[in-house]
Amino acid sequence: MKHTFTIMLICVVHLAFTQDGKIEKEQQVESSEVPENAFDIVSKNFPEQKIKWFKELSDKGISFEAKFQNDDHFFSIEFSRDGDLQDTEITVRFDEVHKKVKSNLISYFDENYTKHKILKVQLRFNQPITKVINYWENPLKSTLLPQFEIEYIGKNESKNLWEGEFDSKGNLISKRKVITKSSDTLSY
């Protein structure tokens, strides 16, 4: 009986491991481990902020990310493993989005879902950080037009969690269904 249980447990654990082999990992690292160029750009432009550095390992390779709070908003700046700037993301509230863009986004959600709930809105920039800072300080004077990454719950036949990429006018570029993490330890 004991052996049967052990064999069953091994089989179940093996099944759990083999069906979920993809590893994406975010690991906090010391600033000394970050490419010099990336560290210089962030520390020069955000000298007052408490920066946390992360190394991200995914199927796309290795990248480095600086994360911090600035003006009560969450900033995330991503670099390649060689220290080249990839993008800057700033988490904002939906009511901070420009009126016209917001109206386009609402039209998209209303046309495509019977019900929706916006959970997270991020502005995404591919331009140099100095330009992003200028935009952040005075968006109306800036020529930069950010893209939007929006996490939302959309309901049609079923409710799903989505991550949508929208252009600067609020038109959908692409979307993907977000696979929610296991909440067994929180619910059972």
């Binding site: 179940v12 590893i23 959970l119 719950i153 409710k159 977000v178």
Partner: protein
Amino acid sequence: MRLIFILPLLITISASGQTIFSGALFPEMAMSYSKNEWMVAMKFQSENRLFDRHLSERWKLNTEQTDFQSFLGYKLSPRVSISLGHQFRFASDKNNSHRSIEQISFVQDGIRIRVGHRIRFDQTYLTNTTLFRYRYRLSLEIPLNGYSLDPTEFYVLFQDEQILSFEANKWDLENRIHGAIGYVFVNSFKLQTGIDYRTDRYFTEGFRHRLWWKSGLFIKL
């Protein structure tokens, strides 16, 4: 939330009276499988008493009860789910019992923390009576590395649950505080171990402190 701050005070006051203190090992294993909005889960847990100061000062390992639970769940949204469950308890004193369980759970994702709320009602069918319990559990899951919990990373889990029970015209209250450290091998396989501190019989005779060393496997198929 306010109750969480009041409870340690209640524990201190009650501890000054006649109390019972016991310690136990509590292994558990949960397996779940989901397809679209539906989910089935099975859980096994066993209470093995290690010492009981009220009965004996001696350390002795006794399996007191073993529970088998099964759940059928439905996701109302990606963060809200409802479940119906059944438990069968094998008790060492032969007072085996059935329990029906109804629950709703909410999960909130913060920047660095996941918060779980679970509201559960259960009815335990004992030989001469039925025990009704109303439960609320708050859970905080915090990754120890990075802003999200990824495979091959450790996390800590803090939980507090208040249980209001009603049996044969008597109300009682139980509080369970749980702190654990866990490791995610892959998204579908977690190992967790920690301490569970339970106090009960707030309104009846024989206030109890119970300490459990709880360890478990969580597998998602």
